[in-house]
């Protein structure tokens, strides 16, 4: 079986063009939110918490902030990408095209992930205006960025079809996932609970790539992220293969 690469490209280009049309909304709003987070967390809380693990609080929250944006934006983009054709009825064309579930997912997820990665980098640049940053492992920083963007684009893509509301789950998971604190400051019981939150591993690994400090070992972070990616891929593959809720 050969891949229909033209179709993957067509979906990707089409989705990126849609992103391009709404470029300002897509960039301005996260940049403003990021700045607000810096004002609220950095200035207000930073007055009391000066540093965590030897890192200035303002700098400490940057990786968490990027992750928060990455997760919410990937989720929103990917689920919107596949929801839209269903809403307008243009999904008839996807269903009647010689494309596999994998190719459709690649196109949509690829575009959503690309947009998230660009956003992540923009937020990173914005952060630089507020706090001095150091990135110890740029390669791993990018790896986590890309991996996370893809994983969450995939999960949104899949779960939208199961009619879940990913946003409702994502936001609390991120806030409780050590984005703005180290889970080491929590009582032991809550530390254990936190370990069931996959976002903890993403944030921890991502932060390690900046400052070489982590709540959990970076290897564990990487493994959990990869596992999560595989699980999401499997779910999306199953949903498309069975035509779940897409076909009558």
């Amino acid at each position: 079986m050969t891949m229909n690469f033209y179709a993957v490209r067509a979906i990707y280009v089409f989705e990126m063009a849609r992103t391009g049309r709404t470029l300002w909304q897509s960039i301005v709003s996260p940049v403003i939110s990021t700045s607000l987070y810096f004002v609220v967390f950095g200035a207000a809380m930073g007055a009391n918490i000066t540093e965590i693990g030897g890192i200035a609080y303002g700098a400490f929250i940057v990786p968490g902030l990027i992750m928060l944006m990455l997760l919410t934006q990937s989720t929103a983009n990917a689920s919107f990408g596949i929801y839209f054709p269903k809403f307008t009825g243009t999904i008839y064309e996807l269903l009647s095209a010689p494309v596999s579930a994998l190719e459709i997912a690649l196109g949509y997820v690829g575009a959503a992930a690309t947009k998230s990665i660009i956003l992540g980098l923009i937020i990173l640049a914005t952060s630089w205006l507020f706090v001095p940053l150091k990135i110890a492992h740029p390669f791993w920083m990018l790896a986590f960025l890309v991996l996370t963007a893809f994983t969450f684009s995939i999960w949104a893509d899949g779960f939208e079809k199961l009619q879940f509301i990913p946003m409702l789950i994502i936001t609390p998971l991120t806030f409780l996932g050590g984005s703005f604190y180290s889970i080491n400051v929590l009582p032991p019981f809550w530390q254990t609970v936190s370990l069931f939150n996959p976002v903890v591993y993403l944030v921890s690994g991502f932060r390690w790539s900046f400052y070489e400090v982590a709540d959990v070992h970076v290897g564990v972070s990487l493994a959990v992220t990869a596992l999560f990616l595989v699980a999401c891929l499997a779910a999306v593959w199953w949903i498309f293969r069975t035509g779940y809720r897409l076909k009558s």
Partner: protein, 316 residues
């Protein structure tokens, strides 16, 4: 020659339990224009959507040019173009972008020259940079046709392509379909406008309540079921049909100047000779005459008149 589409024992039961198709067997010949006629809810769209992969079949099988639509869906779908019944279009994309998207989706490399030709043929070239949302309904319909033709399909499905399209545009679309057939494309269209089937089709299939009632060459169908009428323009007004002619199926127009005789083209004797002899015997003279062939519509109404109510039959 091997048929381009073979449908065998195709049935569809929707999740609601509704039996939309009941064991359809049908073969579409290579290069023909096939018109699928039937009242609303007959199952036309369901049949097309199954072949195109939008609806799952319940039983039976379909092959398109030898490719099974399930086990070899890539082979089947890549040679099919579909123009759906509903105007499902993008909104903010340009005509050019959406048509090129379709070509890519169907696995074809870019070919601006082909897309340009398609848009020109459909009189959409000057709209190529317009956002789809700014186009009229008729133009959107043509955009959908352009999308379906963007990847050079061998088989084109047109699901009620001219519903709600004005007469001039409809004629233009027929022209496009004729040119497609001339270039070897097989066209399957469903329609409410019987005039359309009559004008365009090589063969006609009539579907009613999920069953194929009849499949026939259009010409043969019209010959077989067609009634003809002989209309005589009388020289002198008649008040009523003379009793001597009461054996004939005659009707008199209100102004008393036209006498219409209905006869069956199939019967051995049409009775025309006798009628004319009786007329001259009765001193009824006429200065002109012509015949009318019954339309496909009359035939169709005859066929499905079992369900006397066919309010969905729209004639332009």
């Amino acid at each position: 020659m091997q048929p381009i589409i073979s449908i065998n024992g195709l049935s569809k039961t929707y999740a609601t339990g509704f039996h939309a198709l009941k064991g359809i067997d049908l073969e579409i010949r290579r290069g023909e224009i096939f018109a699928l006629l039937g009242p609303n809810g007959a199952g036309k769209t369901t049949l097309i959507n199954i072949i195109c992969g939008i609806v799952n079949l319940t039983a039976g099988s379909v092959t398109v040019d030898g490719h099974d639509i399930i086990t070899d869906y890539r082979g089947a779908r890549s040679i099919i173009g579909l123009v759906p019944q509903e105007l499902h279009t993008d909104a903010f994309e340009s005509v050019w972008a959406t048509v090129n998207f379709s070509r890519g989706l169907f696995g074809k490399p870019k070919n601006p020259a082909h897309i340009e030709k398609v848009l020109r043929d459909l009189s959409l070239w000057d709209k190529k940079d317009s956002k789809i949302i700014t186009l009229s309904g008729g133009m959107k319909r043509r955009v959908l046709i352009a999308k379906a033709l963007s990847h050079e399909p061998d088989v084109l499905f047109l699901d009620e392509p001219t519903a709600g399209v004005d007469v001039v545009l409809r004629k233009g679309m027929w022209q496009v379909v004729r040119e497609l057939r001339a270039s070897g494309v097989t066209v399957i269209l469903t329609t409410h406008y019987l005039e359309e089937a009559e004008e365009m089709a090589d063969r006609v299939g009539v579907i009613d309540k999920g069953e194929l009632v009849l499949v026939e060459d259009k010409a043969a169908l019209m010959r077989k079921l067609g009634k003809k009428q002989l209309v005589l323009h009388l020289q002198d007004k008649l008040e009523a049909i003379p009793p001597a002619l009461s054996n004939y199926r005659l009707s008199l127009s209100e102004d008393g100047r036209e006498l219409t005789y209905s006869y069956d083209t199939q019967s051995e004797r049409t009775g025309i000779t006798d009628l004319l002899a009786d007329l001259s015997r009765g001193g009824i003279r006429f200065n002109d005459l012509h015949t009318i062939q019954s339309s496909l519509e009359d035939i169709f109404v005859d066929l499905v008149k079992s369900d006397l109510v066919t309010p969905d039959l729209v004639t332009p």
